[in-house]
Symmetry: C2
Subunit: 448 residues, 2 copies
């Protein structure tokens, strides 16, 4: 289905593709609810003042204005008017506002999931749309949020991703305290600067990063070598701890970070072996986050970018003296679904919800056919009734064209038969008890 979106950056799915997306969304919702996360939605619209509070990506924000004001003029939303309206570009900023506004009504630690569309006026490209769906989970506390939630969220997200129809993934985890403490321990105190350089590792290679560290941050050969040595550590178990210690750096914050990352990795590896890696090169996001940092790639599709990222904030939001620390992750649903569809990782077993078409023997039988359909629906069997008493061949053809597996016949004497139009098998059946095999009850999403 390599159709192009009719508006670049605004993908739309065909019904059979939407079934795959629904399966992804239903699976995420189910996993999140099984772990006690409550659903919320926030409005799509925020004030410009709220959205740009942290001075972010204003070029990517879609402002909103009525096409015509009461005098018939077009209004303009600008970044200089904090009360102007704009579409949210993520679900974190709106969630922070929601927590502050409703703090008196929420029970903390507040566990929520939120699955909604967001908009960014960026240049569309593979894996990057202008309108896309995110699925976020966060736990936020009023005051102090125990570290253990960092461990728990890794387990929840590994379980959620494992349940999706996608190839193997790697959940890469790092810790801001570990990195900052280590750099401080070797005498590099401009953490943000070091992270910016380390972030270029994949693009420009180790030698050029070393040069950057020396020319831009005044690092010595030894400091640059140690920073690069740290970033080279990747382990699928807790052996990273020994590898870091072997670099001979000592720092209190680093120890705290080592201990935290060890706990997250130990629990996550136990829960999702082979899918979790301690990756000390991860720099992205460390600017915003204050402890654990997560990002996720699909194995063999690393160029797609991260499909699920997040981390710990010391203050997701604040209200006067109150601080609301949080830890959370965001899954890029549209990015994932687009890849599942384009690579045909999975597809729906049929295109429509309908399992049974009830045929008409003549025009007058429509009302009885509705009774048959109602009896089937009462047991969860999706059923349509033919709209016209065409020849049976034509009614069967309609079912076949739509991908409906069963056709129901009721003769003049009220005897019922049901036919599997794939096998041709036809049997007597009772509308009050007949059930299709479980695999035919609803469209199944099957892995390729």
């Amino acid at each position: 289905m390599a159709r192009n979106a009719s508006l670049s950056g605004f993908p739309e799915w065909l019904p059979e593709e939407r079934l795959v997306e629904q399966h992804v969304l239903d699976t995420l919702r189910r996993t999140f609810e099984l772990h006690g996360f409550s659903s919320i939605e926030t409005r799509a619209v925020e004030t410009v003042g709220q959205l740009l509070r942290k001075g972010e990506i204003d070029k990517e924000v879609y402002g909103l204005s009525r096409l015509q004001d009461d005098d018939g003029n077009a209004a303009t939303a600008t970044k200089d008017d904090p009360n102007a309206l704009a579409l949210h570009f993520d679900l974190t900023v709106p969630f922070a506002r929601y927590v502050v506004e409703n703090a008196g009504y929420l029970s903390f630690p507040f566990r929520r999931y939120q699955i909604q569309k967001v908009w960014r006026g960026e240049r569309p490209q593979e894996g990057r749309a202008r309108e896309f769906t995110q699925a976020d989970i966060d736990v936020v506390a009023d005051g102090v949020l125990p570290f253990r939630y960092d461990v728990e969220l890794a387990l929840v997200i590994a379980e959620a991703l494992s349940a999706l129809p996608i190839p193997a993934f790697k959940l890469r985890i790092n810790n801001r305290k570990l990195a900052e403490g280590f750099y401080r321990g070797i005498g590099l105190t401009d953490t943000a600067g070091v992270l910016r350089s380390i972030d270029k590792l994949e693009k420009i290679g180790a030698q050029k990063v070393a040069e950057l560290l020396k020319t831009e941050l005044g690092a010595s050969d030894e400091q640059a070598a140690k920073a690069l040595a740290l970033a080279s550590i990747r382990t699928e178990d807790t052996s990273f701890v020994e590898k870091v210690r072997a670099l001979g750096v000592s720092d209190e914050l680093m120890e705290e970070g080592l201990n935290e990352l060890e706990q997250v990795i130990a629990a996550a590896v136990k829960s999702a072996p082979g899918s979790v890696v301690a990756d000390l090169s991860i720099a992205r996001g460390l600017d915003y986050y204050t402890g654990t940092v997560y990002e996720t790639v699909l194995v063999g599709h690393e160029q797609l970018g991260s499909i699920c990222s997040g981390g710990r904030y010391d203050a997701l939001a604040s209200k006067g003296n109150r601080k609301f620390p949080g830890v959370g992750l965001s899954i890029g649903v549209t990015r994932l679904v687009a890849r599942i569809l384009s690579q045909e990782f999975a597809k729906a077993s049929r295109n429509v919800p309908t399992a049974v078409l009830v045929t008409l023997v003549d025009e007058d039988s429509w009302s009885e056919a509705q009774d048959v359909a109602a009896a089937l629906r009462a047991r969860g069997i999706s059923t349509e009734v033919a709209a016209k008493a065409d020849k049976f061949g034509k009614q069967i053809k309609y079912a076949d064209k739509r991908g409906i597996p069963y056709v129901w016949f009721t003769d003049d004497d009220g005897a019922h038969q049901v036919k599997d139009i794939r096998s041709g098998e036809q049997v007597a059946a009772d509308p009050s008890s007949w059930m299709p095999p479980a695999a035919d009850l609803t469209p199944q999403i099957t892995l390729a």
Copy 2:
């Protein structure tokens, strides 16, 4: 929960309110899928040219523009630029575009449901928000759509509304052909003009409507009286047919409309007795529609306006010579949910999805507690694990505060007990087989 939205016209729900909304959305989705409707979503964004194709409500459309273009200037969306982007104000216009764009990939008659947010920059008031959710179903054909779908959609929507936690509703049905034919039969050919006057019946009364018909449309006393006589007919069965005939008007189109409305009412009354009425005063929407017209009020809440409206279009969309006739209805989900919440028609049995909190006997037991939780979740039981080994009293208090009904204990010897903290009853339990009563498995939406 009489909280005010922090942005007027953009309502947001608390987690326990969102549970009610989710129940409404899940119920609609389930009903629509049981009747063979496929889910689709269209992008929130359309071009201004597409949205204003029929010259509609441009003041209510939110234009979209990046806050800053590449030169740093704010862009403005205006109604004069057909390529400018704007948010959709309903789901019908986007669906018509989707059908035309994807006609080659769809199987007709195409049955779809679509549940999404829409935006209108109107003055917010009770029952009228700027951002709100609609749930639409439509059947659309390529060429000819049999009339029977008008009957079927009345049944589907009556079943969907009957399944919601709302008070009694009245599905009012009329037919454009009946009205137009009747007016023509008494010599009034400006159908739109007559409908505009009849539409004011509830507001200004019969006498003033008669005056309007006479002064503005040149109707005689007798014509005005007959037009009003038609509009006064309301029956909860098919007896409206005789009442219309008793007015002594004869017209071919009227007969066609009478016959159609009779079929719709007969089937709908059988399926949802007491909830369906043939109401020949319904004028609203007759301008757009070409046959059957539906609207719905909550009994005792008529001033809220219609919660579900729709009808038959001869051409929902067209593509060259091809016409796509359709029939469909749209439910105002946000309007309904806001009323359910404000009137407390229904509420959730608890605030969180969580059924069980697994407590910690000491800090080291967290990993085993995760195993207990995983065993419970494997059977669909939403479970949280305590984040800290606080005193049991404090852990139980946490569960109580969040509304979690069960608390799980595992002692040092690995013996398990589960306590219903509402009754205080505590029993031995096996994590691999224990189940809560069905009513406690997930939050139930209970009618007040």
